[in-house]
Amino acid sequence: MRIRVPESIAPAVVTVLADYRAVKEVAKLHLQPVLIDPLSMLIPACATRIAAGFPSPADDYLDDGIDLNKMLVRNGPATYFYTIEKASDSMNVKGIMGGDRILVDRSIEARSGMIVLAVILGEGATVKQLEIRGSRIRLIPHSTNPIHKPRTILEGEELLIVGVVTSSITLF
């Protein structure tokens, strides 16, 4: 069969025909003889489960169950997970162990006494207790290892409080 089309749309028509042929080719490949198995025709007319008999007396007492997210995450979009470096023991007295996953809530306003994730620009990120006395800011470790000392933020140093640490998860 021959058809005439305007020259300007000829390439488009050729492409469409090529696609059409490709589809047909594939369809050919795909159509395999099918054995009709009478048994498989016996599909239940109504496949949805119908509740019968008495309702369970426990239905009334069903609850949502325990969801750790609900307990640990107070504000989803502002909550982030971090991993404590394996070797880190600077906060072990507070129960934050190397390898723990901590949750940091950025939306909480950090106040003196809170455990925070802080970055001293140029040094790196660290979890410590924040202490603010007047204009003096310190990051306090709580460790059985005496090597860790409070770190005073000096003038000219930039301290970034990422957020407040709200929990630490230790997997045994």
């Binding site: 490949l29 009709i36 599909i43 502002a78 600077s90 950025r106 979890v127």
Partner: protein
């Protein structure tokens, strides 16, 4: 003029770079670019990188001197991270306005009608997003979407606005003076071609466009242009699109790191993409009735050109990786031709329906094989837990020499239990 609507456009400054900086503090204050797929060219720039004269789309290989001389850092794009951070921003914005339209990965329109002290509210939005995510945003407010877009441009480019600009709150004289100072090419929908054409008519500023004759512009450039003019006058012609249309298809496609010439490698790529697409399909609890496969040579190179696609219809809708992979390979077989240098392949799942809605077919009995369902479920679970492609079809290849380059990609900090950012 009826100025009854109020829209805000909120967008994240240098979104991709800003996301990277939230989790890598060493990037703060440094010139950083994020590169397109395959580490091809710059698609996001920090202000420091912009100051070095780097433009959007600059090829990475041309920037190597700046790496050496100016400490420029180039990062591969990390869409897993950007997607998660985007979701956080959108969630925060949704709570700060009665209605929201998510416009792109880093932009959202908000309906601010009825909200008093809009500038203050804009500042509150800015502060909350910055505090909760670490991402800086700008807020533009106007009586139409086009005006909000323009206000956002002002908020971003002119420091006197403090990152929040409300065009709707200005007096007519103020607004006219501001629009006079903006090139017409900055108006939403006015690209470089239109800018040229309007320039020939003597329209070079946003004000010029606003005050032009809408009727004659409509005759010359169509109804969209007329709408833009009306929107610039504060007359809202486009409302918020509140519900993102349900995805009717899922596409998975990439360019190769280098030309692929063998069927074997092309097959690997197609299988990789179809697995990924099937995973997405199951995540949104849909099924597909047809798979499209396509291959393409590099149109920018002087080599013999070839590109074809094939659609394979399935006897019944399915979300089974094995069936979809089979169909994709059948499709590839019909369109593969020897002797070409292929640049790209891809698969697209079309004709999606919610899972479990389809009819069992006459010949097929129940369409899904419970064994396959179990296998797919296990595969998804393992890959969710241990990372993408931990468990995949062997046919998708192990080495994947065609896989695109992403030499300097940051980890998915917020979505992978094993790759969380480390702190001491």
């Amino acid at each position: 003029m009826a100025r009854s609507s109020v829209f805000a456009l909120v967008d994240v400054n240098n979104f991709y770079v800003s996301c990277e900086r939230v989790f890598d503090w060493r990037l703060i204050g440094k010139p950083v670019v994020v590169l397109s797929n395959n580490d091809g060219c710059a698609v996001a720039r920090s202000n420091e990188a912009k100051a070095l004269g780097i433009k959007m789309g600059d090829p990475w290989f041309q920037l190597k001197d700046l790496v050496r001389d100016k400490g420029l850092i180039g990062l591969s794009s990390n869409y897993t991270l950007y997607g998660d951070m985007s979701a956080r921003v959108m969630k925060i914005l949704a709570d700060m306005a009665p209605r929201q339209e998510v416009y792109s990965i880093d932009e959202s329109f908000l309906d601010l009608a009825g909200i008093p002290n809009r500038i203050e509210h804009g500042q509150a939005i800015r502060h909350r997003v910055l505090k909760w995510t670490g991402l800086p945003v700008c807020v533009g407010i106007g009586s139409s979407k086009t005006e909000a877009k323009l206000a956002n441009f002002l908020a971003k480019k002119r420091p006197q606005y403090g990152s929040v600009c409300d065009l709707a709150a200005m007096t007519d004289d103020e607004r006219t003076a501001v629009l006079e100072s903006i090139d017409v090419g900055e108006v939403w929908g006015i690209g470089s071609q239109l800018t040229k054409k309007l320039g020939m008519k003597g329209i070079t500023t946003a004000r010029g466009l606003r005050d032009a004759n809408a009727g004659s512009l409509r005759q010359a450039h169509g109804v969209v242009m007329e709408r833009t003019v009306r929107e610039l006058r504060g007359d809202s012609c486009m409302s918020l699109e509140l519900i993102a249309p349900a995805r009717r298809e899922i596409m998975c496609s990439r360019s190769f790191s280098h030309d692929v010439t063998t069927y074997q490698q092309l097959r690997e790529s197609v299988l990789t993409y179809v697995c990924r697409a099937a995973e997405k399909l199951r995540r949104q609890r849909s099924e597909t009735a047809a798979v499209m496969v396509f291959v393409q040579t590099n149109a920018h190179k002087d080599v013999p050109q070839y590109g074809r696609r094939a659609v394979v219809s399935l006897p019944a809708s399915t979300d089974d990786t094995l069936i979809l992979a089979n169909a994709a390979v059948q499709g590839l077989k019909t369109i593969y031709r020897d002797g070409y240098r292929y640049k790209k392949s891809g698969t697209m799942l079309i004709d999606l329906t919610p899972k479990g809605m389809h009819q069992a077919t006459l010949f097929n009995g129940v369409a899904s094989d419970p064994k396959h369902d179990a296998l797919n479920a296990v595969m998804d679970k393992i890959n969710a837990r241990y990372g993408r492609s931990t468990l995949a079809l062997a046919g998708a290849g192990l080495e994947k020499p065609w896989k695109l380059r992403a030499e300097n990609r940051s980890p998915p900090y917020t979505t992978d239990w094993n790759q969380l950012p480390r702190v001491s």
